[in-house]
Homo-oligomer: 631 residues x 2
């Protein structure tokens, strides 16, 4: 077979008309976008005839400019004749065929495009905003009050706990040469339990856990616990009325704030004077971090003359975490920063069934339903529009909020993005063959080879599988045994902080956290006996009912900012995240940090959240300039 | 386009030669087996040219008998020309193409055949028969003695256990309307724990657990515990020297047995006289089952004049079972039966790491390595050849024994066959489209739809996933909390007995078992603190090292008999089992019974084992007749 020239579609047409049959070999130089050229682009083409039926795939089509007739010559030496002797006529029919090629080829393209559409995204389902999760007999209750709350470690509970810890049985020795590879190393466990029993200062830690103002309020049948911290601002602070752009101080609020500020200032001055007298003021200063000191020196600078906004931010924890994860982060978010004309009021709830929040009494409370509860909570606190941040289940819930209530969520910050949009999954698969199409080379090893990722996932998801199917079974032992609970929960703070910590005899537990920090979190589970109800969230969220909502395929228009730690359980680059978050503004990729990022690196998270919200504000401003007033 | 006739390949050839181009439409009447006809059969065809490259799929090819040349006309009106103007010639080339079609089609068939070969089966690996699993410092120990063993429930242990049970915390209430669907129902659990604490007769149960003679012996660094029960025979019994066919009584053994029998008979007569005096004899009679009474009436019949064989049988339990599973079965196997010229000596070991057997101190003791230990145990007891029976892990281990030591295993009986031979998996997949190719219609619903099976498997395998990855973590809680252990283990005796029991508020726990039976088994785990080491078997058996042996693809020549309960976790018909067990003699399919079959239906299992061994003996006899003397 001779290649006698390369022609484009038009030339083919013309040539065809001249001599009935035309031979052509398409090379790379053939312009793309046309019917047959398109075929080259996809390496195959569907050819159709007038009847609408189709001939299966021809990979490459050669049309020689000389030959016996209007034939398409395949590289295999089989000639495909266009037009026929008796029943097929050249001319318009031929053109039709070429068009058919274009159309059918186009269908392939459309199928691809359809799989990853920005057009026709499915609409979010409407969930019942009043769905009742508490006991039926409380349905008459319409208590919307916000009650103060304190963490209490009852002496009886402490005594019982210490007793259980001291009567622990002889733990099964770990296998020779094994650190955390088979789970929590029993030698290392003994040290943790010893500390819990003998060195953990229950009273002091209880006090610490009461550092911030805490409340409960009754929502959809459940008492929901939350921390609420308003900014530590002494001047120049105005609250931002939710969702409106710019500096807006509603008259009533402004006067209230002013009054509060005066009172706060007076109290602060009083405290400082008292400390000065008792000599504590020096310690107070030395406790400040370098960056705090830098800001302090700037606090009286000109920028503070501008009024500050207070913006509401919802922070959500996951499993096996708690509100404790945010204790180091909270002051960094509620403190004014140089160069920022806003500061946060943070609301940090315990998820339903976790710690101090009630658990549902009937099946069905999955992350979309928790999203409803959290939105109701924020509304009760007067925040109709607000920012959200989350990790672990918290990240799933804030993502659901951004999907279900895009009007209410001003911006969405997550440190555990895990998009399961069908296009993300498809592209992830394609990337396993061509990683560079999907992810920058330097991050490729965080995703690929997929076999490595799945192997890791398989190894680390046994707890998930069990909790998604039989949480009540394993929950009995974890409710009954503090040692068992410690092993079960703290294992995650080892491996999920740095994967390789599982090869360290002590699991590297205290490399990033203090035992006090870890045990504070554990105490929230132990003192409330909430491990079973917490684990049930896995069963609910992997249920058929929840999955039927298919939220993962509904893109959220809320501006989104992603923070990705080095040792987060899964990594997805912006190109994969965008299917779910089309308004993805930024992805901050860290070379360190693990799953419990707010707990481990609060300063990094705080900086990133400030950057994110600043960008969210700009985004809304630009939207407004564009005349889009939906936000 | 006109269809002007239907021709076969030869006609096509002839026609083509006549006029250069031939048109043809293949209809159903075209004979199959030829190149293009083959294409019809598969609805598409790969056509090759002389260069060896191929043209993608043409689904249907029309060759009109009249036309412009040697063209193949597609139903779309596109003519595919065979042979060319310049470089392709009709005739031999055309024949080559048709041959290519046949060859390529044939390759598909060969690939299929190759995947399921009986030729070239892989050979079993040779494992180290002396691999050391105990502490290094015991390596000098060469103690091969067999020591008597008694189960002891120490008063301290009982006291501590009751104390733990009485201080159990308030269990998390199950969700409304939920029975065992989220795991063990906490209301039901309370009743079990109450019984364990207040009604379980520790002393009596300890005594019961010592019903049979028990021993330990030191193998490969581990003390292995086992029950050994020789037949309850008063006359006509001879031991079968392992592996030899027919009635063989070694002189020394025969005299020893005679002596023992005389002694036993005297003791028995003495006991009966004592009972007659104390009036107990009546009760003794009334306790006998109907079938026992039937046999008793036959015991003096003619058949007993024939000498009986004592054949060694190894019985292996699994997780979360123990030797306790066989207590009801043992007397049924060691008692003479009418119509049988053999009776069993049973050896029932605790698996390493389970109950009263030591656990390995280092990684690597998976089911193939346990197979080595069990064979060493049987050899130590003087059984070079023996029969094996197992369920759960026991079934995996006896299957491994049949694969690794086919010379030693006289017959293999399993009540949990689960073949993972690649052909079995492939055929299972094919069966998901054509179930009737794989399984009888009445059993199809035990396998298909696959989605239902996988969904069930997913729901029921969380424990497996966790135990295969982090057994030491969850082991802490289960070692520390008897309530937790009860929930974790007894859940399996609910759902795995009848799947739908999980919808019963009490899990149907006492429908097939008494609480005493269930708690006996639990006590073996609790009193020995062996749950963690028992669960580690999952980690070892799913390890890369174990899987690399690929035992699942090595057929075992040992005659095999399968007993399949209605509610076993997986069902595979004979056609799927045969890839692994080519000498599969029989499959007994039950319409009832669950995973713990020997425990639940000992009489059924005993009958089936007698049938199986009888058939194994016939099989060996036939083999001998055929002059195959390998056994």
């Amino acid at each position: 077979m001779d290649d006698v020239g390369t022609i484009g579609c038009n030339e083919l047409h013309a040539a065809s008309q001249r001599d009935g049959w035309t031979r052509c070999h398409f090379s790379q130089s053939v312009p793309r976008g046309g019917g047959i050229a398109f075929a080259r682009c996809f390496a195959c083409v569907l050819l159709g005839d007038d009847t609408g039926s189709s001939l299966p795939f021809l990979s490459e089509i050669s049309i020689p400019t000389q030959g016996a007739g209007n034939k398409l010559m395949t590289p295999l030496g089989l000639q495909v004749c266009m037009g026929g002797d008796d029943d097929l006529h050249f001319g318009p029919a031929m053109v039709n065929k070429l068009l058919a090629v274009a159309v059918l080829g186009g269908i392939g393209f459309v199928v691809w495009r359809y799989l990853c559409p920005s057009c026709h995204p499915p609409k979010p389902p409407v969930l019942d905003a009043d769905e009742w999760w508490g006991p039926d007999h409380l349905k008459a209750t319409r208590d919307e009050s916000i009650k103060p709350f304190k963490v209490v470690f009852k002496p009886d509970m402490i005594k019982d706990l210490k007793d259980r810890l001291s009567r622990a049985r002889k733990w099964t020795p770990s296998l020779e040469g094994v650190a955390f590879e088979y789970g929590f190393n029993s030698k290392s466990l003994e040290k943790v339990l010893q500390y819990w029993k003998d060195s953990y200062q229950f009273e002091a830690r209880e006090k610490y856990l009461n550092t911030y103002p805490q409340f409960t309020t009754f929502i959809q049948g459940l008492n929901i616990h939350f921390i609420r911290v308003k900014p530590d601002a002494t001047q120049g602070v105005e609250e931002e009325e939710e969702g409106r752009r710019g500096l807006i101080g509603a008259v009533d609020k402004a006067s209230l704030i002013k009054e509060a500020k005066v009172q706060k200032k007076q109290e602060r001055l009083k405290r400082i004077r008292e400390r000065e007298r008792s000599g504590q003021i020096k310690n107070l200063h030395s406790e400040r971090t370098a960056s705090t000191r830098d800001w302090s020196s700037l606090l009286n600078n000109d920028f503070l003359k501008y009024m500050q906004q207070v913006v509401p931010l919802l922070l959500l924890h996951g499993w096996p975490g708690s509100v404790r994860e945010f204790y180091e982060l909270i002051p960094l978010l509620t403190k004014q920063r140089p160069g920022r004309n806003f500061v946060f009021e943070v609301v940090v709830p315990s998820l339903p069934g976790y710690g101090f929040s009630d658990a549902a009494v009937r099946p069905g409370l999955a992350t979309p339903q928790i999203a409803v509860i959290m939105r109701n909570l924020m509304r009760r606190l007067g925040h109709k529009k607000f920012y959200v941040q989350g990790g672990d289940w918290g990240s799933v819930i804030v993502s659901n909020m951004a999907t279900l209530f895009p009007e209410d969520i001003l911006g969405h910050h997550t440190n555990m993005p895990f998009v399961q949009h069908k296009c993300t999954l498809l592209k992830t698969l394609i990337g396993s063959v061509f990683p560079s199409w999907v992810v920058e080379e330097k991050y490729a090893e965080r995703m690929y080879p997929l076999s490595k990722f799945f192997s890791f996932l398989l190894e680390e998801s046994g707890y998930l599988h069990l909790q998604a199917t039989k949480p009540d079974t394993v929950g009995v032992a974890l409710t009954d045994s503090p040692a068992g609970l410690a092993a079960y929960i703290l294992e995650k703070f080892s491996t999920w902080t740095v994967f390789d910590y599982k090869h360290l005899p002590d699991g590297g537990l205290t490399k990033k956290f203090t035992l006090d920090q870890l045990l504070d979190n554990l105490m929230i589970y132990w003192s409330t006996s909430s491990i079973t109800t917490a684990m049930r969230l896995y069963s609910e969220d992997f249920s058929i009912k929840k999955r039927a909502l298919k939220l993962e395929n509904i893109p959220s228009p809320v501006p989104t900012w992603v923070l990705q730690a080095r040792y987060e359980l899964a990594f997805q680059p912006a190109g994969l995240l965008k299917y779910k978050y089309p308004n993805l503004i930024n992805v901050t990729i860290l070379d360190e940090g693990g799953h419990f990022l707010a707990f481990e690196m609060p300063a990094v998270v705080a900086d990133d959240v400030f950057n994110a919200v600043s960008a969210f504000k700009d985004w809304h401003k630009n939207k407004a300039k564009e005349g889009k007033t939906e936000l």
